[in-house]
Amino acid sequence: MYAWKWWRENRSRVIVYLILLVIITAFLPWVSWWDYQQGSSGAREAAALDVWRICLVSLGSPAMAFAGLGLGASGVGEEFAQGTVEFLLTRPRRRKYFVWAGWATGAMTLLIMVLLAVLASFATFVYLTKSVHHWKFLTMAVPLFVLGAVVYSLTYFMTALMKSGRTGLSLSLGLFVIALLLPLAVRLQWRIDLPTPLDVLAASKWATVPGAHFPTTATIGWSLVALAFPLATQLLFERADV
């Protein structure tokens, strides 16, 4: 029931966003098409792949972060701001049901967005190059999803913490920017590598560059971070006075 309510509440925004995302990502391989037409066969394919990868990562990561912010801000914590939390929490379900049902529906939406975007892009690439050899490119969905899920889960938690989607979104955006800039500053100042959510994007190289390593540790680590936030939301929600 709660998943239905969540979907009914967000579907128009999600569908419009999804359509835009798919159109743009489907168009991206055209950018690499010019590269593909230059040079020898092997080199031109590699160059086209690289351009395509860079375009998709450059566009896909902020797009998924943006989607994560929006979806997270419409999470269960927003019920406080709407004044409907009293109604919701007097339905005979455990509080954690609402936390996880809301989170899972948003995460599923995010996953579908990523898959459709990457598939659309891949389909165009296959159409242009008449080559299906680069199926590994489909795994680009993994880093994009993990990145989006981290932002989404952080926003979901902050919305519950602040009992407002708007405040939660603002704080989450601030924290995410800090999480990106802090490791950069530390690296520049002290040459120490701190983990950053962008580490997962190295997976895109694995998809296209021969011999590149898949960032397993970063992917698992940030996936766990993404899962920790709804867990924290559950703990918060179960103790909240309404």
Binding site: M1, W4, K5, R8, E9, Q82, G83, T84, E86, F87, L89, T90, R91, P92, R93, R94, D241, V242
Partner: protein, 311 residues
């Protein structure tokens, strides 16, 4: 009597600035309509939130349907329907969507009841909730509660802001529906006339403390205001004296029972009894909760009340 629907034992809820509920001891019998009366901010809503497990007590305990709201919240909510004071529901949903959303939570949900009350209350089903009048919003909220076929219906100020016609309609629906099926109603309100219309038990709360809990018939039949003149009359009475206050040359006592015996006792102390009169709910409520007059301790120090000079 069979097991109480609601019992609280020294139930207490303190917030940093306020003691919302302060050692509350309630007993709500099954099949009754319990009018839970109090002024604004008396602690009614906080008590209800404690009963529904929406907030946790600072001290004390509550049992709803024999269950502990802290541990058995879901089991309580399966058998308890609630109409909240704020009447906030999802603004974009129509009543049809609200019914669809809510019915999935309940195993005892009754579509027959929905059809019956939609007709009876003339609820517009296709309009978004945000466009409904307060009266229709209340009707939708009540419809959602009645369709649950709950054993216990908790209503928090259900009629506030409504016109008398709608109030009368809602009370009739309650009487014909939930009560006719043997359900229990816990009705929080400060609309005394409505409570008097349907309640058979009354609890009066002020500053988080229960000042009075009695059957409405007992109040009508037994409670008396004794007005006495004389020197050195007692400010404290036996346990049945709910309140006592001096107003000019007179002492006014609200007595829960045995008024004649207490009047006789005053006469033995040299008092002249000028009046012994019955009290209605409004007079009792005002006597217990008005603060313009200096409060006097009564009834073993547990009840603090003032008798209004208007009585």
């Amino acid at each position: 009597m069979s097991e109480m629907m609601i019992t609280t034992d020294e139930l207490t809820k303190h917030y940093p600035q306020v003691r919302a509920v302060d050692g509350l001891n309630l007993r709500v019998p099954p099949g009754s309509v319990y009018g839970f009366l109090g002024r604004n901010g008396a602690g009614k809503t906080s008590t209800i939130k404690l009963l529904l497990g929406l907030t946790r007590p600072t001290a004390g305990a509550a049992r709803v349907l024999g269950l502990d709201p802290r541990r058995d919240r879901v089991a309580i909510l399966e058998r308890t329907a609630y109409v909240s004071e704020n009447k906030r529901l999802y603004e974009w949903m129509t009543p049809v969507e609200l019914l669809r959303f809510t019915r999935g939570f309940y195993t005892q949900w009754s579509d027959e009841a929905v059809a019956k009350y939609v007709r009876r209350l003339e609820i517009p089903l296709q309009q978004p909730f945000k466009t409904l009048s307060l009266g229709n919003r209340t009707k939708v909220y009540l419809l959602l509660a009645l369709a649950q076929r709950a054993d216990l219906l908790i209503l928090d100020e259900p009629t506030s802001g409504l016109d008398p016609v709608i109030v009368d309609e809602l009370l009739r629906v309650l009487a014909e529906g939930h009560l006719a099926e043997g359900g229990t109603v816990f009705l929080s309100s400060h609309q005394l006339s409505e409570v008097e219309q349907i309640a058979d038990w009354v609890g009066i709360i002020d500053q988080g403390k229960l000042l009075l809990e009695a059957g409405l018939e007992d109040i009508k039949n037994e409670f008396r205001l004794i007005t006495a003149a004389g020197e050195g009359l007692p400010a404290f009475g036996p346990p049945q004296v709910v309140s006592a206050v001096q107003a000019g040359a007179f002492w006014k006592y609200v007595v829960a029972r045995d008024a004649e015996a207490f009047a006789a006792r005053l006469q033995q102390q040299g008092a002249t009894i000028t009046d012994v009169s019955p009290l209605n709910l409004r007079q009792i409520f005002l006597a217990l909760t008005r603060k313009e007059e200096p409060c006097m301790p009564g009834n073993g120090g547990e009840r603090t009340a003032a008798v209004s000079s208007s009585i």
